[in-house]
């Protein structure tokens, strides 16, 4: 059976999601921040985490965005193959949702239309849209606005197979170390291993939208996540980069098949304002 979904519904949902996600952290992130404050051993680090907790409270109560960098809107759409989208152009419907969300929600317009001419588009469009056709008759929307303090410190490396898992670990640690205070720790570290050049980057971005606390399915990746979280925290960068034991809240690793000659690794860093929201229609 073909199910009809009006694209206007996507516009409305995306508008609301942009506003909500910039004022409230998802439950998994809010919990991770609380746990971080308990775990942190540096006094200054504890103080900063306390301020970030307070910041979250104020953001929700007074409807001020958690961070002024309300990001470039990254939108993932999983569209069931039994869905027929009606009522207009899908891409435009997504843009309109982002536009309305950012204009009506008092969110910052941080997008320039041409990367070299650099004129602000004044409505935070376009978004970065990733679509995927999946079985079923539902549409799953994930909105994940991305701030550029951490985006700028993200890296991709085309390792050779001989570099193996040790090479992967090195890339992750080097990326976090180099980012230091710039990416607004405590971080969520999204890692994509495998695929092709662009697939690794997408895997890393998707890893950031995984609920914090949810582990990888494969046992060897799960243990790599645990090991890397420990090693990242041992760097001592700490909250705000001012020293401490909590440099990252989580390391999420997504993997995919790759070529016999390659081992792509992408590390997408996200600050403690790791915004992601998912709805199914």
């Amino acid at each position: 059976m073909i199910r009809e979904v009006e694209v206007g519904e996507l516009t409305r949902q995306i508008r609301d999601m942009c506003i909500q996600v910039n004022h409230y952290l998802s439950k998994d992130m809010a919990c991770a921040m609380e746990t971080a404050a308990e775990k942190e051993q540096s006094l200054l680090g504890k103080k900063i985490l306390g301020q970030l907790e307070e910041n979250l409270k104020i953001a929700g109560e007074e409807q001020i965005p958690i961070c002024q960098d309300t990001g470039m809107a990254v939108v993932f759409l999983k569209i069931g193959q039994d869905v027929h989208l009606t009522g207009g152009d899908l891409g435009r419907a997504v843009e309109e949702g982002v536009r309305r969300g950012y204009m009506e929600g008092y969110l910052r317009r941080s997008v320039v239309g041409d990367p070299l001419i650099r004129e602000n588009t004044k409505d935070n469009t376009p978004a970065v849209l990733h679509t995927q056709i999946v079985p079923g008759d539902q549409v799953t929307i994930t909105v994940a606005p991305k701030g550029f303090g951490s985006e700028n410190m993200s890296r991709i490396a085309m390792l050779k197979p001989a570099q193996g898992v040790e090479g992967v670990k090195q890339v992750i640690l080097d990326t976090v170390r180099e980012a230091g205070p710039n990416a607004c720790p405590p971080l969520v570290v999204g890692v994509g291993i495998g695929g092709t050049f662009e697939k690794a980057a997408l895997l890393a971005k998707q890893a950031l939208t995984r609920p914090v606390g949810e582990k990888a399915k494969e046992a060897h990746i799960r243990s790599l996540e645990e090991e890397m979280l420990e090693k990242v925290n041992a760097l001592g960068i700490g909250p705000g980069g001012l020293g401490g034991t909590v440099t990252a809240l989580a390391v999420h690793i997504n993997t995919y098949a790759t070529h016999i000659a390659g081992l792509p690794v992408a590390v997408n860093l996200c600050c403690h304002v790791n915004r992601h929201i998912k709805r199914v229609i």
Binding site: Q51, L52, E54, N55, P65, C67, R118, N120, G180, G236
Partner: protein, 184 residues
């Protein structure tokens, strides 16, 4: 050490600040980030005057989210300072007293800070809602067309920052990196 200081800055007060000190700033500061710095650089290259006399003033690297009706400003936390590194030494040599941002600075900026007796503060990145409460007035004073990147004059009260690079060139982030000072 902890200090309450006023802005514009008094050089004798700045001289006492050391990396790691916790400071509350009250008074007048200005915002400027990427596009405003580029435009100021172009103005200087063309032999034109800058819209603000930076002597003893503080630049806060920040572009706020829009204010809701009846509010002074939206979310207002620091942006990454290193993007302003190519521009900062020139402004420091013109008397800029201090900068507030987040993240590491280049060697050239540190040298210019020492040369001019200035200071680099960090505010907590990602605490824009909390920090906005310490901003009592905000007014665009130049480059209005740049939107969030316009130069704004802010009146702040007890705005919380940490000294990262002091006038002697000590760098708190560098200390954290080499000594892992936070873990005790």
């Amino acid at each position: 050490m902890e200090y309450r200081i006023t802005a514009p800055l008094d050089k004798s007060v700045v001289g006492r600040l050391r990396a790691g000190d916790y400071v509350w700033i009250s008074g007048t500061i200005y915002t400027a980030r990427d596009a405003a710095h580029k435009r100021m650089q172009e103005a200087l290259d063309a032999g034109q005057e800058l819209p603000v006399d930076w002597k003893d003033n503080i630049i806060y690297y920040m572009g706020p989210s829009p204010a809701r009706e009846g509010r002074v400003i939206g979310s207002a936390g620091p942006t990454t300072s290193s993007r302003m590194d190519p521009y900062a030494p020139r402004l420091l040599d013109m008397g800029l007293g201090g900068m507030i941002g987040k993240g590491k600075r280049s060697k050239e900026v540190t040298k210019a800070i020492v040369r001019s007796g200035a200071v680099y503060f960090a505010a907590v990145g990602g605490a824009g809602a909390l920090l906005s409460r310490q901003i009592k007035k905000a007014e665009v004073v130049a480059y209005d067309d740049l939107g969030t990147e316009a130069i704004r004059r802010l009146e702040v009260e007890d705005f919380p920052v940490i000294v990262v690079i002091d006038p002697e060139g000590n760098d708190l982030y560098e200390r954290v990196r080499t000594e892992k000072t936070g873990i005790s």
